[in-house]
């Protein structure tokens, strides 16, 4: 049981070279796999391929295989795929339906379209709204939210589908620090309680340090670094791959580089 990418290469329609691959990767149930990398290193493309949207929806050419719990993703119908892999797009306005009058209806849109019983739809909708801390926005117009609020609504809409795998493309990019911490904790809870496997693309390495067990750093569509998140985040090659180490680690390095005399008090202050 997992999403398995084996020998993947993907090229967008009309592109002269592949945006992704060759690459092998696996998203396991109940775990968070972190993905980082420079701009245009293939992170969003990896999301589209893993969620089965590329090439099925966006075209292009895929080589290698994407298997979701053993089934070839290419053979799954869109509604089957949607229940297995929920994808959160980077830009919430790409995600929101634009057809609903309230945040509650927007969040209920997915589960309602799965044909569930009404009480199940309601239960999932409230659960998802609470998970990301926006039950207070339920009566609001989705078109009249701030950027960060829209991002939380988009995430709630995906969570409400209760997919077996979550593919999240920078879910915290527009969020304030407390919102970021809330989403990070919610993802850990979702992984633990529903057993969902999560592929999480993040520039905020603090978030990856906090919740990802394993991580991959992409460069030109390939895995330049991979392994346990703590090891990858401490790798000296991280900076040249366009990825900043977590704030605490960076500050410690800057202090040491500046020759600030190291003391137990400093160690404690950084802890």
């Amino acid at each position: 049981m997992a999403i398995e990418l084996a020998g993947i290469t993907y090229r967008y329609a009309g592109a002269s070279r592949a945006s992704l691959g060759p690459l092998d990767l696996s998203v396991a149930p109940g775990r968070v796999l972190g993905v980082a990398g420079a701009n245009e290193s293939g992170k969003t493309t990896l999301c589209l391929v893993t969620a089965g949207l590329a090439p099925a929806v966006v075209g292009g050419k895929l080589e290698g295989s994407v298997r979701v719990d053993g089934a070839d993703a290419a053979g799954l119908k869109p509604h089957e795929l949607a229940q297995r892999c929920g994808m959160l797009f980077q830009n919430p306005s790409t995600q929101l339906s634009g057809t609903t009058a309230t945040v509650f209806e927007e969040t209920a849109f997915g589960p309602a379209n799965l044909g569930l019983a009404l009480e199940d739809v309601l239960e999932r909708t409230w659960w998802a709204l609470r998970a990301v801390g926006i039950e207070g926005l339920a009566p609001r117009d989705p078109a009249r939210l701030s950027g960060g609020q829209s991002q939380l609504v988009a995430l709630a809409g995906v969570l409400a589908l209760r997919p077996r795998y979550l593919i999240l493309d920078e879910p915290t990019s527009e969020l304030d620090p407390a919102g970021t911490a809330l989403v990070a904790d919610a993802l850990v809870r979702v992984a633990r309680e529903t057993g969902a496997g999560i592929l999480l693309v993040e520039h905020k390495t603090e978030v990856l340090a906090r919740i990802a067990a394993e991580m991959v750093v992409l460069a030109r569509g390939r895995a330049a670094l991979s392994g346990p998140a703590t090891e990858v985040l401490g790798d000296p090659r991280l900076a040249e791959l366009g990825v900043e180490a977590p704030a605490r680690m960076r500050l410690e390095r800057e202090l040491r580089a500046a020759g600030v005399e190291w003391t137990a008090a400093l160690d404690e202050a950084l802890a």
């Binding site: 420079a38 701009n39 245009e40 950027g147 527009e174 366009g242 600030v260 950084l270």
Partner: protein, 320 residues
Amino acid sequence: MSDFDRSNDSGRPTGTAVSPADPPSGPAAPGRFPDVPSIELDGVTFEYPDGTRALDGVSLRIEPGEVVAIVGQNGSGKSTLVKHLNGLLRPASGRVLLGGRDIRDAHVAGLAGRVGLAFQNPDRQLFAGRVSAEVEFGPRNLGLRGAELQRAVAAALEAVGLAGEAAANPYDLGYSRRKLLAIASVLAMRTPVLVFDEPTTGQDARGVACVRSVVAGAVAEGRTVIAISHDMRFVAECFGRVVAMRAGRVVLDGSPSEVFAESHWSELRATYLEPPIAAVVGARLGLGSTPTASGLIAAARAALDGRPAAPGPADSGPNR
């Protein structure tokens, strides 16, 4: 409630980035950008049609050449506030003044030449089929033509590292580069006031460095820069003044050293913000308010030498 409504006078920063107010209509000093207006919001209130009160009596004065970060919880009114600066939104009550003049009757087209605003979501801004055409649109509408126009476009693309993409379709660029393109299309208009709504989101380390150099370049020219950000390190290191908002009101206003001082942490956390890690470490070590790494290093060295800390370069406001 003493920290509320510090916006008008008491929280004025004294940092180096804050230039003395040149008279907006006076002759430009050498190396100074011409006609940079002061900005004043006077009791501005705004409600969206669904009844959400996004701004609740905001009063704020920004001098020419100031570099101001606006921080605060999601939905606290930051984007709504900056959309008042170029007339995209109009206050329900209160006034917005540019260079001392109420902009009530000014058209958005007229304000566009003075206040450039890069949206949070680049896809609300970009529309052209070529990167160069996208960047040309603004300055062309301001009357630039020929070589002057081409220079403005080239300089703007260069500033955001997109010089090699002039012929590309904006939608062939990834999200992070579309955001940089939206910034370039505002830079090309050479407005005396620049407003960026979350310029660093979705950027990798190089993208953030690029945004930092755009801000530094504009500040060096004497332009006013206002940016909304959740990136507290970027805020502490690049801005002379920090305005924190909560529920449509200004709750803190001062230099990074003042706003990120330990005495304000509970207020910051109430608006869903965290002080920068350098500030936390400095406070734990009893070194005073050190929101930047360089400030922390200076304070730590001074403490070891038994001298009082000199302020760091990006936060020269009074340390506590």
